[in-house]
Symmetry: C2
Subunit: 459 residues, 2 copies
């Protein structure tokens, strides 16, 4: 997208990003005009103009004869300011904003969840009625620091089914899967650290990392997991602290991690002292279990997280972390300091729904419905020249290439004005190289209008 920006704007954006990520500390001196011009490969007059505009914005100031300095009082944290070089439409929060508060009557093939009437509504209603009769301590009291024991014990048994060995004492319940990730980010990351994400990856990883003021590097994603050679090169060059990825079904591609890739990634991580977050939020969508980093690693450098928002309900917030045992105490301290307790009520409703005799049938039905939706959606997209990058074994996503001459961001903007919320490729791409791609959610694509609007809006 950079070609839309002038050289002056590039320098301004770079300085703003370095201030936001505390690479340039408050009151520190900026590189001299001459040094900056050399670094950027632009003329000194470009840098002068950029610095002067930054001064007008109050972001830096000059000391006569001594150069330019970062202003002491920086503005409050704005995620869009931190990523000023990202066009508003492909800022990583764009899809969330449009999907969480769509225009009236909008269709949402770009959103990342099932329609409400696919979720386990009957089990949730039963769970709420059960919990309405629970002990007073469940109704009224703060949870224990780790959270409801019965649910942690159930999670231990569920993880055992994926060969992940986690004791209830190393499972921490959180307010959501996103909050689980956030706690680990806070625990492991210092502003200025580097984090590796898949390219493409779930867009909210990118938004969340912006909030932590860290540098983000993307590793190209293949149908078997991250490109291992590129991964090795990134560890060498950038010395990242953390790698965050999906387990089971990769978002947005629908790919699954192969055992060989999992093994290599772990070997490299171990040699480099890298931590890993494995986000298994789509575990229950799998038909045939894929390799898990957490299973191979034995939870020594992998933090394994999940939630229930994609299968039970997105309205009830509950997630969890299975953490290396030595970090549990510090993570719980952080959880208390930043959120105090967790919700016993939410945990109790989740426990009730997961142990409901109807849950297994519910998920089997979801698998069947998703397979059917995929079968119906693919030919309808193919007619428009939109083809999947791979055929996923499971899950709701299709990561598709658009026909020549179509730009996903522009298409998403045109479709939004016609009441269709799409998920354009670059919201998922750290390198902004997915402008030919679009993520579709087959569970949200039964309506013919979606294909009509796409057809009208493509070039």
């Amino acid at each position: 997208m950079n070609n839309k920006f002038t050289r002056i704007e590039i320098v301004m954006a770079d300085v703003k990003e370095k201030i936001a990520t505390v690479i340039y500390m408050p009151e520190s001196r900026l590189p001299s005009i001459r040094a900056a011009a050399k670094d950027y490969g632009f003329s000194p007059s470009t840098v002068v103009e950029a610095y002067e505009r930054l001064q007008t914005e109050g972001i830096i100031y000059s000391r006569p004869g001594a150069g330019f300095y970062v202003a002491e009082t920086t503005a409050p944290l704005s995620l869009t300011d931190i990523a000023p070089k990202i066009d508003r439409v492909v800022d990583p929060l764009w899809v969330s904003r449009q999907s969480l508060e769509p225009p009236d009557g909008a269709l949402k093939p770009g959103c990342g969840w099932l329609p409400a009437d696919w979720l386990f509504e009957v089990g949730m209603r039963r769970g709420l009625r059960n919990v309405a009769k629970a002990d007073a301590s469940i109704i009224s009291e703060y949870a224990t620091p780790l959270g409801l024991l019965a649910l942690r014990q159930l999670l231990t048994r569920r993880m055992a089914g994926l060969s992940i060995n986690a004791e209830p004492s190393q499972i921490i319940l959180t307010d959501s899967g996103t909050q689980a990730i956030d706690l680990i980010f806070r625990f492991l990351l210092t502003p200025g650290d580097t984090v590796v994400v898949d390219d493409p990856c779930y867009f909210n990883f990118r938004a969340q990392l912006l909030a932590h003021r860290v540098k983000v590097v993307g590793v190209p994603y293949t149908p078997n997991g991250p490109d291992v050679d590129a991964f090795a090169a990134i560890l060498d060059e950038h010395k990242p602290r953390l790698y965050i990825t999906n387990a089971a079904i990769h978002n947005p591609t629908g790919a699954t991690l192969s055992p060989a890739t999992a093994y290599r990634v772990l070997q490299l991580a171990q040699a480099a002292g890298l931590y890993i977050i494995e986000d298994d939020i789509f575990a229950d969508f799998e038909v045939k279990p894929a390799a898990r980093l957490a299973a191979l690693d034995g939870l020594s450098r992998v933090f394994y997280i999940g939630s229930f928002s994609k299968t039970l309900s997105a309205s009830l917030r509950c997630g969890y972390i299975a953490a290396p045992i030595e970090w549990v105490g510090s993570l719980v301290d952080l959880k208390i300091a930043t959120g105090f307790g967790g919700s016993q009520l939410a945990a109790a409703v989740v426990f009730s729904a997961l142990t409901d005799s109807g849950y297994r049938k519910h998920m089997n039905d979801i698998h069947t419905r998703l397979a059917s939706a995929r079968t119906h959606t693919l030919p309808r997209l193919a007619k428009l020249g939109i083809v999947p990058w791979l055929l996923p074994q499971a899950g709701m996503f299709l990561w598709c290439r658009l026909p020549e001459n179509n730009n996903a961001t522009e298409l998403a903007n045109r479709c939004l004005s016609k009441g269709v919320v799409l998920a354009p490729g670059n919201v998922f791409s750290q390198s902004d190289n997915a402008e030919k791609f679009m993520r579709f959610n087959v569970a949200q694509m039964s309506h013919s209008k979606i294909f009509e609007v796409l057809a009208q809006s493509m070039t």
Copy 2:
């Protein structure tokens, strides 16, 4: 507490704290032995020994002939490491840990909430049953970015009763009051910023600020609010970014803010460009409303927050922010990035309980029970020579001075071993000057054993 530590330990703790708060960046050079010795007022050999021990711990390293440098890979964030000079027993998370997971059968006069059977259990059960019958969208879907409109509208009306003018569009629902504060901290604070707290203040403000790697300065608290002259001096000297305080009933003292103090604090804040968080979690405990900073200020530099964990249930997590209108968009971006949605179910249960015809009577009963508990507790404490710093108009807390020769931390430790969880003064005190004070919760003090254990354990 510092006199317990050697000079070497003081230097080590100071360096660790500066690394943790990113005052010393990774790979930056430490002050020379000579300069450090001068700064600390210790001998160069003390600094040498401290630096060498830090090197053994892997926290810094030496470059021959070039001095000492901060190691690149810092350990994960540990709140207890950040505050190494604080004795474990008065670390600000101590009371939370003991209260949230007490020894079996322990009594908790130190905890900050009502007994479960005082809370609005009947209203909560009714709320859960109501919500079990709600629309599918409430049961299953993500909340809108701001959260359930009906609850925000109700909050607007409730705030209007306190002369706080907040539109539903500037109210953001959060997962808890603590999370509301955390979002604002993230939004406003950069590592290295300075924040003012009351001294004493709610201990979790201190724990939470540690997690944000900022400097914390305490302003002495008087029976009418913060000491205004000290506040002015702190603004001058430390140029803080933010002041966080309680509204209505101050925790731990039970004091209330006078209109004159509120006015002066706001005037000073305005002149200094200081933001304020006013935490009104005890609003519904008030019998006679006190001055609110948010009411005077019109939500221009005050962020007003609250929750329902002290009145309805601590098990259901739901809080809110009433924010200056220009910051709502950025706060919502941060909320989505770091927690994705909020819980519609929780908001719907809270709405049901707050609008339950029994809620007003429930709170009236609580006022009566607390007044009665206060009346019964005061003479029992007085017999032990424990006297309140002031007589609160409302609420559950008594901030009490212990008789001569008693140290609150030591007393809390001795009582813990006998099954009584106390809240010793220094967990609340940024300056560690409250070792003669103890916070008692009158609602948790009906049991005679508490007074017996206190009597046995005092000197």
